[in-house]
Symmetry: C2
Subunit: 215 residues, 2 copies
DNA sequence: GATGTACGTTACCGGCCAGTAACATCCTCT
DNA sequence: AGAGGATGTTACTGGCCGGTAACGTACATC
């Protein structure tokens, strides 16, 4: 009982420790078992509290779901930016880095694909608050991939960007059916590099690598 | 005598009209609203009958789900075979035809992506009877795409086949988030053709097209 | 006319679901 | 010491879930 370690109530309003525990527990359970498969009782219990404390922190399960998706979006962009940061000015390498990051994260050993895409399957009611979160995120992914393709001076940036997005979505999706890297995503990076080679015309800087391969 | 068509007891057990109505209703509702979102009451009611008749035809909802997935697999291969049949001996054209078929079916105007992939998201319990159906289907898709890539004399058939599968899965997945063809799948065929061009070495028969484009 | 079969109807079960009320506790800050 | 806020506890509602029992009805065949 007296085994308490950390105690701080600095959050401005409604934000306490219990809320964070519930939030993290919910994100994990939603991701592992699916949103519809997890009840608020299971979330509260998994967070070491009870349903009453849940409803003191969140107005409803749907609101929690939407908030979890928003947090997922934010974390996703953090990883995205961190992945491409080391290769600023090298859009081709940045694109590869994004896919490497995805391979390790959403397609890793204990991964279950993309939480946003999975949520899009589970939440079919058009009025669910999580819908615009998902759609906004995917739209931004598409925009950024197209922008990177343009920065890489692709012959058709929109086409390349969309192709990369399809590969990305396909990679996370197949992760749910094929365990580990045994599935087609083992060749995802090959596909990315092939598309880059095909869409990005040989420039002066890239010519040396290309001529070297041809020799 | 007992050789009538609609009423014979040729079906081993339980094959009637109500069963078919329930089956078709379930497939439609599962596809549109999701498997977990549809209860047996809604299925029976949608089929113009009641829950009791449901359980006279199917031992459980999970069995019905698995049977729906099996039917989906069978129909999927029918469409696949019908799509590639006109282009026998032309694997490259067959691959394009498959994607065209997918664009019209799983990514059509009123489509909700791939029922099998969606089911993989919703059915996370490892012991669900539908799991092996999904996995078997996706494995066969992968095998056939790789075989087509090999038949097309791709430089790396497995890599091309997997890339095509990722594009395919990505196309159906993005359909749930982007309405109509507004999403990245508008460039799916471009990606397919680009990959085919990149993986399939220019042969004598393909050289004329390629040299024509280069001129 | 008897029988069997397919189907409809009603009622019910236990369990889980999302969500709430009322009350007790404890911690923290003043 | 006292107050207020955050949390735990118990019990509850109403509804839907998957699944079942018992019974009634229509029909077709023999």
């Amino acid at each position: 009982m007296s085994e308490d370690k950390s105690r701080s109530s600095a959050a401005p309003e409604g934000g306490g420790r219990v809320r964070d525990r519930i939030f993290q527990t919910a994100r994990e359970l939603f991701y592992r078992q699916g949103i519809r498969a997890v009840g608020v009782d299971a979330i509260a219990c998994g967070a070491g509290t009870n349903k009453m404390s849940f409803y003191r922190s969140f107005p409803s399960k749907d609101d929690l779901v939407a908030e979890c998706l928003k947090a997922q979006v934010a974390e996703s962009w953090e990883r995205w930016d961190a992945a491409i940061a080391p290769y600023a000015g090298n859009p081709r390498r940045q694109i590869e880095a994004i896919f490497e990051m995805i391979m390790n994260k959403a397609c890793g050993d204990d991964a279950c694909g993309c939480p946003l895409s999975n949520a899009a399957v589970e939440l079919r009611e058009a009025e669910h608050p999580g819908h615009q979160v998902i759609r906004g995120h995917k739209t931004e992914v598409r925009r950024r991939l197209r922008a990177l393709a343009a920065e890489a001076k692709a012959s058709d940036p929109d086409s390349l960007g969309d192709a990369l997005m399809l590969l990305l979505e396909g990679s996370t999706t197949t992760r749910l059916t094929f365990a580990g890297r045994s599935g087609p995503l083992s060749n995802a990076l090959n596909a990315v590099r092939t598309l880059l080679d095909a869409y990005v015309p040989p420039t002066a800087t890239a010519a040396k690598k290309r001529s070297k391969a041809a020799a």
